[in-house]
Subunit: 153 residues, 2 copies
């Protein structure tokens, strides 16, 4: 469920340029429609026929579904941080739609590390996570700032 | 499900400063744990006891769950745009945790409007959506750029 604690990385273990690759998630139309029914009930996420006449030109996953799958991939081994993956927010873009037959994985890179001035036991790590389909095309780019603890003395 | 088409707003109908308030969503621990099990399986989103010893100090919703609920509130009347709510991405922050007994609503404000130069039938509308709990405290701030069609001639 969460990363193996023995392998979990503390702030001290990270360097700018470090990269991580997640496992893969196989999407399908049923998952897309179930998420949409719960959280984003719009025709282009719910119904194959209705989606054809929209800007998407066919069924596409909600961007928030892509974001949620990305988080699952990061949490289940794609980004093995001590203390878990705790973000205060980020910048999100969806360069192209996520489709029913997509297989997604996430490639993350550490782009910044800033020790906390107020809390010496932790730091803020900036991570750029690209969610890619089976053709290596980015369907989401997330730049997030994560709270990462230092290794206890 | 989607906004009443008769009331849906086109680009021509919008002005900077226009504001919208969504309906309310009542959260509970079961919803928080179900979303977390599917997409963000970390102890502070899954288990009341385990959450007490974490940075959250108690059960809290995944930020991605707050984002998904926000989208549902926007899509189901909170932001009645013609063509639906189609975003290319945005900036997201979670200023404080979302808790099991929270009742959430979303207050959105149009902060920018830019007609498309390449596609005269649409424009990009910047919207700042604040998701607030029952005490009026912001649990999420989302600034998104949405594709909004012009009214057909």
């Amino acid at each position: 469920m969460s990363a193996n604690p023995a392998k979990a990385l503390h702030l001290d273990d990270l360097a700018v340029g470090d990269a991580f690759t997640s496992a893969e998630h196989a999407l399908d139309a049923q998952q897309i429609k179930a998420f949409a029914a719960a959280f984003d009930p719009q025709p282009f996420h719910l119904d194959d026929e209705a989606a054809k006449g929209t800007l998407f030109g066919g069924l596409a996953a909600s961007g928030w579904h892509t974001a949620a799958i990305t988080m699952r991939l990061l949490v289940t081994g794609g980004m093995p941080l001590a203390g878990g993956i705790i973000g205060a927010g980020g910048e999100l873009s969806w360069p192209r739609p996520t489709r029913p037959d997509d297989r997604l994985h996430v490639v993350s890179e550490v782009t910044g590390i800033a020790p906390s001035r107020s809390r010496p036991d932790r730091g803020i790590v900036t991570v750029r996570s690209e969610t890619r389909n089976q053709r290596g095309e980015a369907v989401q780019v997330l730049v997030s700032k994560l709270v990462v603890p230092r290794r206890p003395a």
